[in-house]
């Protein structure tokens, strides 16, 4: 027994070393990140009602289809992004149109702002694009440009009415700092996901190592299930397996039909996996075979609650950032939503079972 535990210990340590090396290798050996950054100053100078250098466009390329995080910063020189929103910064007397166009000139993203620091996520195909800043110091000039290029006349008038063009007199100048950057959301997310996965993997291995050490020292850490519980778990596994088979059949039909284009594989196949796991868990809970007989279940419930809460916080963060569904298409972040729903169903099943047990125990007491 001790020799077996020692071999397991060595195996777990080697797995940790392998994970760290694999992560490091993948990080170093990965392709150049799909991102770019441009920063320059532009002096906005109005002479006799006309803007000198009214517009500037920067070319950039994306290497793969996907969601890209675009960051724009339009700030007067010396102003930090924390000052955006103050009256003095907003009332510059001119507005700037931010545009992203593809190589054919089609507008892929547009926004009209005074001073702003903003992030947005846009789906872009592989190819060449231009990011542009166009300065408007006059209402009519803005209406003409906007309604011809990216807005309806009515929308342009609404923006023009909300903007101020009066406080920028002729023969004055304002130095603006324009910054534009883009990065592939997938690259960013992959690195973050990789780090999280690595940490979780190491934590799991450490837990297993501690478990083996406890076993070697003679502690009894195994979960004990009686024969009825093992039988019910087997039935639960079978139910979960066939549920997954049926779901995968349905999901593959939907995927092949193209009903939902550009959808992430995580959305459907991940959902099918979570449903089958939830079916197994709920079945075992209802048939009293989820918790071992030598466990109170408190530790498991606390762990489930922590995981559920972590995922809920992530969902709230992603939801507020608008990253769960982008351009009407669910992203891989939907997995966190599935996780929260699955865990909530498990908790509800536990509560309902407890209530059901309470009712049956009181009726048995009455019979006796």
């Amino acid at each position: 027994m001790k020799k077996k535990s020692l071999l397991k210990l060595i195996a777990y340590i080697l797995i940790i070393v392998f994970m760290v090396l694999a992560f490091g290798f993948l990080s170093v050996g990965s392709d150049e990140a799909n991102e770019g950054y441009v920063k320059y100053k532009q002096t906005v100078r109005v002479i006799d009602g006309s803007v000198s250098e009214p517009e500037s466009f920067t070319p950039f390329s994306v290497k793969a289809d996907g969601n890209y995080i675009l960051r724009f910063s339009l700030l007067p020189e010396g102003v930090s992004k924390d000052d955006v929103g103050s009256v003095a910064v907003d009332d510059l007397g001119f507005i700037t149109t931010v545009l992203v166009t593809d190589s054919s000139g089609a507008v892929r993203y547009s926004s009209v702002q005074g001073a702003i620091y903003l992030d947005t996520v846009v789906y872009l195909e592989e190819g060449d694009y231009y990011a542009g800043f166009i300065v408007h110091t006059g209402r009519e000039e803005f209406l003409e440009y906007a309604s011809e290029n990216f807005l309806s006349r009515k929308e342009a008038e609404m923006i023009a009415d909300a903007s101020s063009f009066d406080s920028f007199p002729d023969n004055t100048e304002q130095v603006m700092e324009y910054e534009f950057s883009y990065e592939s959301e997938a690259d960013n997310s992959r690195i973050v996901a990789g780090i999280v996965a690595l940490i979780l993997g190491i934590v799991l291995m450490l837990v297993l190592i501690v478990r083996e050490i406890l076993i070697m020292s003679g502690a009894d850490v195994h979960d004990k299930y009686d024969e009825r519980q093992k039988l019910e778990q087997g039935k639960g596994f079978k139910l979960g397996f066939f549920t997954l088979l049926i779901e995968l059949g349905i999901v593959m039909c939907i995927d092949c039909s193209g009903l939902i284009p550009n959808s992430s594989a995580y959305v459907f196949y991940g959902g099918a996996l979570f449903i089958s796991i939830t079916v197994y868990a709920v079945y075992c809970i209802w048939h009293e075979s989820y918790f071992a007989i030598n466990r109170t279940g408190k530790g498991t419930i606390i762990m489930l609650a922590v995981i559920c809460l972590m995922n809920l916080l992530i969902c709230i963060g992603n939801g507020l950032s608008g990253l769960i569904i982008i351009n009407g298409v669910p992203t891989f972040r939907i997995l966190n939503v599935y996780c929260v729903i699955a865990f909530l169903i498990v908790f509800i099943a536990m509560i309902l079972k407890k209530i059901s047990n309470g009712i049956s125990e009181s009726s048995e007491d009455e019979e006796e």
Partner: protein, 64 residues
Amino acid sequence: MKNLKLKAARAALDMSQQDLADKVGVSRQTINAIEKGDYNPTINLCRSICKVLGKTLDELFWEE
């Protein structure tokens, strides 16, 4: 089919289902399921229960 003999034998010793389960090494719900007739125990579990309750297999598990 309910196992009333098991229930009676347990009650005669003033044992709760949890007490019997702890002594036999199974969960309370398993004892409950056996008494309700929802689960047929293996021969090993039957023998363990008989040993704890001081009865024979026939006395507790034979259908009359």
